[in-house]
């Protein structure tokens, strides 16, 4: 029993990371119709930038702050030079190919600058070590990650729901053309969400780095997981991402607990089924 409880907590922490990653992916798609296959790359970039900041300035919180900024700068360049030309309908497949290429570039770029060595980041002192939850002891940092996940989830939900920016975002997503006639700078909104999405991914990368080491291949690995989450949540839907992430994480973790080999397979099967029978997402009623 305690095993299941602790495993669930672990799954939850894992889910929080997936959430941060998938959220950006879903946001970018929901608003800009851009399926950003380079998302995993930006996640990884965030982690590595964080590592460097930490090494230079020796302050975890600065790393958490600066790494996303760095990644977003890269995103701005990419958006300006490449993505911007391919917004709008009929461009989805271009976007896929472009971001796919971008993914290669980023992952190889990272290998070039940081080398292929496995890098790890230590949790800040006050979050290190473990806490005794009575039934079992649990890494303190992972509890922190869970909290972060919840905070971001609530914060973003509020932002989208109540802030003026949120309204603009929803408007642009709903009908970019008309939004423009009502004075919404749609292109800027799209660009901003693209960059913001990247920011979230990079943020996830830094937050995750003390939990999981930085190494080659993490980007595609996490991208696939994020894709699965987003698909299960329903492309472009934000409210459901958190639960989808939790579902995927639980399936994955408990899958590995009981049938280690079939775990990945389980997750993929889940996605394939959802895509095939509920393309609009698991939590949304079939749209007519």
């Amino acid at each position: 029993m305690t095993l299941y409880l602790s495993q669930f907590l672990h799954a939850w922490a894992y889910a929080s990371i997936l959430y941060l990653l998938a959220l950006g992916l879903s946001l970018t798609f929901g608003v800009g119709r851009v399926l950003n296959l380079a998302h995993g790359g930006f996640y990884m970039l965030g982690g590595y930038l964080g590592y460097t900041v930490l090494r230079q300035l020796d302050n975890f919180w600065l790393a958490v702050l600066l790494a996303p900024v760095g990644a977003m700068l890269v995103a701005v360049v990419a958006e300006r030079l490449v993505m911007r030309r391919f917004y709008g309908h009929g461009m989805e497949l271009h976007q896929i190919l472009l971001t796919f290429g971008l993914a290669f570039v980023i992952s190889d770029g990272i290998r070039h600058f940081w080398g292929a060595r496995i890098l790890t980041v230590a949790a800040p002192a006050l979050l290190g070590g473990t806490v005794d939850l009575g039934l079992f002891i649990f890494p303190r940092y992972r509890l922190f990650v869970i909290v972060v996940g919840i905070v971001v989830a609530v914060g973003l939900w509020a932002l989208i729901k109540y802030s003026a920016a949120g309204v603009k975002i929803r408007a642009a997503a709903a009908d970019g053309e008309i939004a423009q006639t009502l004075g919404v700078h749609t292109t800027r909104v799209l660009a901003t969400t693209f960059v913001a999405g990247v920011g979230l991914a990079a943020f996830g990368g830094v937050i995750a780095s003390p939990m999981m080491a930085l190494a080659q291949g993490v980007d595609f690995q996490m991208l696939i997981m994020a894709l699965i989450v987003v698909v299960i949540a329903g492309l472009g839907k934000l409210e459901t991402v958190y639960f989808a992430a939790l579902l995927v994480a639980v399936v994955d973790i408990f899958g590995r607990l009981f049938v280690p080999r079939a775990a990945i397979f389980l997750v993929f099967a889940l996605m394939a089924l959802v895509l095939a029978f509920r393309p609009t997402g698991l939590f949304t009623p079939r749209s007519t």
Binding site: S6, H10, P139, A215, P260
Partner: protein, 432 residues
């Protein structure tokens, strides 16, 4: 990339003109292809024309290179990119370090290293090997980190009868089912180092163990090597967890291990997985209840820095340790650190030994290395005192025979290193 060895520069130029032609060819191909899709004809059969033309130019350019036979060309296919790039780098540096001590020559023939990136992809590794043998026409082949690649290359190598010195890949079968007349191994077999630890664990840690390993061939070999001697000693394996390669989260695995109630853990996880595992093991709080004993590579110098404090106290068996107390090792470490300014790893030692085997074989043959079989014969005869202790090649298995040491990760004047606890004795691979 880094300190240029005489060998590699020459290789540079030689490569360059080949490259140049290939570039020309490639661009020609592109141009042609542009034209082709301009008028997008779909008539069959025109496609292959590319291959013809550009391979023609490329090979034509190589003819003159064939003439000189003077320098000994040693092809090294090894990871210079990817997760295991560090292993490759240490190995190459080790080889160059030794070659430096003998003036980059053997029997008055300059030794020229031609390095190709092995890459994690076996296909590429195989392709590069072919290039070395068929395009560069190397006299001796060495390297290979990945066992998978080693198996793939083995068959082709024996066809072409080029002597091949495996500098790392530890798959047992290279000394058994896949044992090959043209291949020797100076590194280790997965079985060797782990078998050595089983008995020790039973005597010093406990009678039950929970095993964890990366879910691939080598992982199983490491695990079973240990299991063999451990069970022979009367121990019991109470839990066994295999995790997919490239796992980033081991909480599930740790959960099961923790639940097993074993006296301790023994495991081998490759590369990243190992680093992440040890850290999460440290966080999981199992440390106190279940000491971790590992296959040496999991906590070797190349990853130790990254695991950091978390690795302290982890014990492991391997055929070398940083503070191994013998004159060769002290000399080796000194040379290495003043040359490269970083701590050597077991891969450095393997590189060093590999180079030494090659050099001494050439010496023994007086430079007459035309016949691959003869070269292998000479290599089997080589034996010396290596930084890892006594070193020789078993003529039966073509596999190295060396001592295995039980080490513990400890802090040696501010730096984290493996320190020797005990010499477990000499272990050959039993072979088929």
């Amino acid at each position: 990339m880094r300190s240029a060895a005489a060998g590699r520069t020459t290789k540079g130029t030689r490569e360059d003109d080949v490259r140049f032609n290939r570039l020309a060819a490639a661009s020609a191909a592109v141009a042609l292809l542009l034209a082709a899709c301009g008028n997008g004809d779909d008539d069959p059969g025109a496609a292959p024309e590319e291959t013809g033309t550009e391979d023609g130019t490329e090979d034509g350019a190589e003819e003159p290179a064939e003439a000189d036979g003077e320098p000994v060309k040693v092809g090294v296919v090894i990871m210079t990119s990817g997760v295991y790039a560090q292993l490759g780098e240490d190995t190459i540096d080790g080889m160059e370090l030794y070659l430096g001590t003998v003036g980059n020559q053997a029997a008055n023939r300059p030794i020229e290293l031609i390095i190709e990136d092995e890459t994690p992809d076996t296909g590429t590794a195989l392709e590069r090997t072919r290039r070395l043998i068929e395009a560069e026409e190397v006299d001796i082949l060495s390297g290979l980190i990945s066992t998978g690649s080693a198996y793939a290359v083995a068959e082709f190598v024996s066809q072409s009868e080029v002597p091949f010195v495996v500098a790392n890949a530890g798959g047992n079968d290279l000394a058994r089912a896949q044992r090959n007349d043209y291949i020797i191994r100076t590194s280790f077999s997965n079985w060797q180092n782990n078998y050595a630890v089983g008995q020790w664990y039973y005597d010093n840690v406990g009678e039950t163990v929970a095993l964890i390993a990366s879910d691939y061939a080598a992982g199983a070999e490491h695990m079973n090597g240990f299991r063999e001697s451990f069970e022979a000693a009367g121990g019991e394996v109470v839990e066994e967890v295999l995790t997919p390669l490239g796992s980033t989260d081991f909480s599930a695995a740790l959960g099961r291990l923790g639940n097993s109630g074993a006296d301790g853990l023994y495991g081998f996880l490759a590369g990243t997985d190992g680093v992440i595992f040890v850290q999460q093991y440290d966080q999981s709080g199992l440390r106190d209840s279940m000491p971790l004993v590992a296959s040496g590579f999991m906590v070797e110098e190349d990853v130790l820095g990254e695991i950091g404090e978390a690795a302290l106290g982890v014990r492991s068996g391997l055929h070398w340790a940083y503070d191994l107390d013998n004159p060769e090792n002290q000399e080796f470490v000194r040379l290495w650190e003043e040359e490269y300014g970083r701590a050597p790893s077991v891969y450095s030692v393997q590189g060093w030994d590999t180079a030494r085997v090659i050099v001494e074989a050439i010496e023994a043959l007086g430079g007459e290395i035309g016949d691959g079989a003869a070269v292998i014969e000479a290599m089997l005869g080589v034996s010396f005192d290596s930084p890892r202790g006594s070193f020789s090649i078993d003529p039966e298995t073509h596999n190295v025979v060396h001592h295995v040491y039980l080490r513990e990760v400890a802090e040696i004047d501010g730096e984290i290193h493996n320190t020797v606890l005990e010499d477990l004795g000499e272990f050959p691979d039993p072979g088929a």
